[in-house]
């Protein structure tokens, strides 16, 4: 049925229209007329759905694969720090992670421009810059970026990726308290989870970095089964999505 919303909708619309007209004008049967109108409504509703949507299970698989690849990179470099999610450059959010364990808040508040290359320096610390999973997701939801942070997080995490069941968020100054319920995918990737947070938290941080145009760090993350209580902190001035000419080395 997934790729056939339009054909199913057209059939229901045609059938409903004929049934309601015949029932009302010829048979003068109100329940049958109502049945026809119901078919018309379901048909139009079906026609309005997007054709051939990518199954959410496939999107989740792709995000998980991306996280697995990043896990391998982090293992290879022996990364121990926590991620600082950077405002979008060329439309994509990046994350800088120090090789050594160091308070990320200290780096986020003092670091200058972080070069867009795999190995780079920020605030005197060597680290890696990666594209976190779903760094493209917020870009595809640009139209929704004018609303509240909660609306944007819901659009990215619930509507687009269908990675979680619900998202609530509250902004308190530079802090964003995010309550995620019903996470459908929390891959068991120790290094990734330590550095970038769990997959839904990482995507939430990326989305917030995109939305606010500021640096974002995960202040705390409490995973309880499929529910996550996440505290994100934003740093720096809102950037107007600056463009850099850096290349990935």
């Amino acid at each position: 049925m997934q790729g056939n919303y339009q054909s199913a909708g057209a059939i229901l619309l045609g059938f409903g229209a004929v049934l309601s007209i015949v029932s009302y004008s010829l048979l003068q049967n109100i329940p049958l007329t109502a049945l026809g109108l119901g078919s018309v409504i379901v048909g139009i509703a079906s026609l309005m759905l997007p054709p051939n949507p990518i199954p959410s299970s496939l999107v989740r698989e792709m995000l998980q694969n991306s996280a697995t690849n990043i896990e391998a990179v982090l293992e290879e470099f022996g990364v121990k720090g926590k991620a600082m999610y950077l405002p979008p450059r060329e439309g994509r959010v990046t994350a800088f992670i120090t090789l050594e364990e160091r308070p990320v808040v200290e780096i986020a508040s003092s670091a200058g421009e972080v070069p867009l290359r795999v190995l780079s320096m920020a605030s005197g610390s060597r680290g890696v810059t990666i594209f976190p999973p779903g760094s493209e997701l917020p870009k595809s939801q640009e139209a929704h970026s004018e609303g509240s942070n909660e609306d944007f997080l819901r659009t990215v995490l619930v509507d687009t990726s269908e990675l979680v069941r619900s998202v609530k968020s509250n902004t308190l100054g530079d802090t964003e308290v995010v309550e995620i319920k019903g996470a459908k995918s929390i891959p068991n990737l120790p290094r990734f989870n330590h550095c970038l947070g769990s997959l839904p938290s990482s995507i939430a941080a990326s989305a917030l970095a995109y939305k606010t145009g500021r640096r974002v760090v995960i202040d705390s993350e409490d995973v309880n089964g499929t529910d996550i209580l996440l505290i994100l902190r934003t740093f720096g001035q809102s950037a107007d999505r600056p463009k850099t000419e850096g290349m990935i080395d």
């Binding site: 329940p31 109108l37 379901v42």
Partner: protein
């Protein structure tokens, strides 16, 4: 099950249920059926929030129809 499929199935189920139950009660007023359809549509849309290709023209149209039905009922009650 995919959310869009669930949305369509729930909408169809609610509309079929409304039609059958009203027909069983001998309801011969088309306004009642349409009103129930409108409520079913908005309830299902609110629960599943399906992604749409366009602005929700159907919702807007149904809202207008529902408003007209309610207005006619109010006028009838007031006896204007």
């Amino acid at each position: 099950m995919e959310r869009n499929n669930l949305y369509l199935l729930t909408l169809s189920g609610l509309m079929a249920l409304s039609t059958v139950s009203m027909a069983a009660l001998g309801q011969q007023d088309l306004d009642v059926y349409v009103s129930l359809f409108v409520i079913s549509y908005f309830a299902t849309s609110a629960i599943f929030s399906p992604r749409r290709r366009t602005f929700d023209f159907l919702g807007a149209g149904l809202f207008v129809v529902f408003s007209i039905i309610v207005a006619l009922r109010v006028i009838a009650i007031l006896g204007v």
